[in-house]
């Protein structure tokens, strides 16, 4: 692997301003004789073999014991305007994936490309300008607001960091955004605790939208909300996406919500994507046994209660001790011998679905 710094240098040499990683061969390129190299296809985000390992240190001397493999080789591709749903149980690495894409965590290995630029391993200063385009909505918006600040100040903060605006301009922009997420303009003079759970989520959304991002990552945007409020928030998210042409990554453990919202879906298990494809395809015809298990476990009104034999027992194994071979085999209803020794690759089944399972 090329050292990150070196790679960055190489990229800076690109004359046209649009950078391109030739070695990885990710983007299909067109050569036009005047402009040089152009990137076609509106791929907004691409991760390649993304890995994030956390060291576990024990004893007095902080001796390094082993690694927790939170992300273990994730390849994803997201086109502009798409909504990618990421599902999986807790501990499957959904949040780590989001934070690594954002650069909050430095990847242990692998690369992240945003609009054709390499954004992993960037210096914090250069990362700042990219952060305004990729935004992250925290799981618990109530806790991510400063309780001592009025909402106006919290919402204006991103503008102060990223843009050089006068105070009246900031207020104008904040008021406009607050309106677009369905809150009243006077709401900005209140404190965060004066809002209900659903309203706090709207505020979190407003704080992000002031910067006009192009990619928003939602981490469990509706967990802990009532179904009725959940519906209102989802409706708002869809409307904003259509109005502003946003791209979403939608992390949730609620499969039905993801089904409703996304057009692409990635199913994660223990830090790896086990199935990836168009939402319709994956829901209608899930290939990986883990996806099948997840779909069977979700409660549904039309379906009679589950019986014992349908359910797979056990929970996600400790990510510090990932099973050998296919990471799902200890919970798999019908593992082969090969599953215990050999890691299955994420192979395309057809042009809209990929699965990592020895069955296919």
């Amino acid at each position: 692997m090329i050292k990150p710094e070196k790679r960055e240098e190489n990229l800076n040499l690109e004359p046209s301003g649009t950078t391109l990683c030739k070695a990885s061969g990710i983007f299909r390129v067109l050569r036009s004789h005047k402009k040089g190299i152009e990137i076609v296809e509106n791929v907004i985000l691409r991760t390649e073999n993304l890995k994030k390992y956390f060291p576990v240190k024990k004893t007095l001397l902080r001796r390094h014991v082993h690694w927790i493999k939170a992300l273990d080789g994730v390849d994803l591709e997201l086109r502009e305007g798409q909504i990618l749903g990421v599902v999986g149980e807790s501990g499957s690495g959904k949040t780590t994936l989001a934070k690594t894409i954002l650069g909050i965590y430095q990847p242990s290995e692998g690369t992240v490309f945003f609009k054709g630029d390499l954004i992993s391993h960037l210096s914090p200063k250069r990362m700042k300008s990219i952060r305004r385009e990729i935004q992250y909505v925290y799981q618990n918006p109530g806790a991510s607001f400063d309780p001592w600040w009025k909402v106006e100040r919290s919402l204006g903060e991103p503008l102060k960091i990223h843009e050089n605006l006068s105070n009246p301009e900031i207020e104008k922009r904040v008021k406009g955004v607050v309106k677009s997420v369905g809150l009243e303009q006077d709401h900005i003079f209140r404190y965060p605790h004066e809002f209900s759970g659903g309203q706090q989520r709207r505020l979190a959304l407003a704080r992000i939208l002031v910067l006009n991002p192009s990619l928003i990552i939602f981490d469990e945007p509706t967990s802990g909300l009532d179904v009725s409020i959940q519906a209102t928030i989802l409706k708002l998210l869809k409307k904003l996406r259509n109005d502003l042409g946003l791209t979403y990554i939608f992390i949730s453990h609620d499969l039905e919500v993801v089904r409703m919202m996304s057009n692409q879906i990635a199913v994660m298990y223990l830090g790896a994507v086990v199935e990836h494809g168009s939402t319709e395809k994956v829901f209608m015809d899930p290939k990986h046994p883990y996806t099948q298990l997840l779909l069977a476990a979700a409660p549904k009104i039309e379906r009679p209660p589950l019986e014992e034999d349908v359910l797979i027992q056990g929970t996600v194994p400790d990510p510090a001790h990932i099973p050998s071979g296919c990471r799902f085999w200890p919970r798999c209803p019908a593992p082969f011998e090969i599953c215990k020794t050999e890691i299955p690759l994420l192979k395309p089944i057809d042009n809209s679905q990929k699965v990592s399972c020895h069955k296919y």
Binding site: E89, V227, L234, R259, L294, P299, I301, E307, L311
Partner: protein, 347 residues
């Protein structure tokens, strides 16, 4: 199935021929009204709630936050925080005895944690972080006068029934060492240890993964079957309610809107609010529908039917008069003027 309403009072104790009293219902709540007196004014949290629960029955209490689900659960254990909370009216008959009239000491000795137990919503907030699982479970059995060995045996059998192998040192672990699903199962074990007749489960799976949720729901169903224990299952998710319950009661702003056997509820949903709640669930068609508006402040609850400001079918009468509970079919009760009118037209 008899459902108690204010108009048709059903008494729990009936006399058989020999003159002995016998129980028809395990739990019967009638006309329960709970207010909270706060600085901002009185919150009318529950307004004349009626419900009944048989032995071995699972009743799902469904509603949005602020509808009074948890308050009702607490009222049944008579642990509404006082002096702010006040039970204005009504009675809660449990095994023929009114819990609200019991002495504190009697209630502690016979009811709380003995015959009625609680599965909390947040297991991490409810388990003591300073003691091991084993110590906490044993504490529950201390009063029973069992020997150490017997206690341990009982705990391990129960834990293995809940698919928690105690031999892996689980009893020596502290709550933070367990996953959410494991700890929630320990809490279920804790609620089962005293052999209760009624378990109040307050959103026990809300914070859990779907796979763990499915396992816990399966477990609850099995326990109900094996032990004939009754469960009051509080949830905001109708899909979850459909998986565990025999009967569904929908609460809105402290009033019962509809109550029906689970099958009938989904087949013949009658109340506009229940219909809207069902629409809110994500569906495969990809369209999202919400109720519109928000739960009203219970300091100034709407006059008449409390749902009328958000109801599309509301008319003048809904704004003025609180609808009575009527029985549409056997066991299917609804409180809506529209349904009353339709019913009146039928011969």
């Amino acid at each position: 199935m008899v459902f108690a309403t204010s108009s048709t009072r059903v008494f729990v104790c009936r006399e058989n021929r020999a003159g002995e009293q016998f129980l028809t219902k395990l739990l019967e709540v009638s006309d329960l009204t709970v207010n909270f007196n706060t600085e901002r004014g009185t919150i009318y949290a529950l307004d004349r709630i009626n419900l009944a629960l048989d032995t071995g029955e699972v009743l799902a209490l469904v509603g949005e936050s602020g509808s009074g689900k948890t308050t009702l659960g607490r009222a049944i254990l008579n642990i509404i925080p006082s002096p702010a909370g006040e039970i204005k009216e009504g009675r809660i008959l449990f095994q023929g005895k009114n819990i609200l009239e019991m002495e504190e000491s009697e209630c502690n000795l016979l009811v709380r944690g003995k015959t009625i137990t609680l599965i909390p919503q947040d297991p991490f907030g409810s388990a003591n972080p300073l003691f091991t699982i084993g110590t906490q479970l044993k504490d529950l059995l201390k009063a029973s006068g069992l020997h150490e060995k017997e206690m341990k045996e009982r705990i391990t059998t129960l834990l293995s029934q809940l698919q928690l192998p105690a031999d892996t040192g689980l009893l020596r672990k502290y709550p933070h060492e367990l996953s959410g699903g494991q700890l929630q199962r320990v809490m279920i074990a804790a609620s089962l240890l005293p052999n209760p007749s009624l378990i109040i489960a307050d959103e026990p799976t809300t914070s859990l993964d779907v796979t763990v949720e499915a396992q816990i729901l399966l477990l609850l169903r099995r326990l109900v079957k094996e032990r004939q224990v009754s469960v009051l299952y509080i949830t905001h998710n109708l899909a979850v309610a459909s998986q565990v319950s025999h009967r569904i009661t929908v609460l809105y702003a402290g009033q019962v809107m509809e109550s029906a056997p689970t099958n009938l509820f989904f087949k013949k949903t009658a109340h506009p609010y229940s219909k809207k709640l069902l629409q809110c669930l994500p569906n495969s068609k990809g369209e999202i529908r919400d109720i519109g508006g928000s739960v009203p402040s219970l300091i100034h609850p709407p006059e008449g039917c409390r749902f009328h400001p958000r109801c599309e079918e509301a008319h003048t009468r809904c704004r003025q008069e609180k609808p009575k509970m009527i029985e549409l079919e056997l066991g299917h009760w609804v409180s809506c003027h529209d349904q009353t009118r339709k019913k009146g037209r039928e011969p």
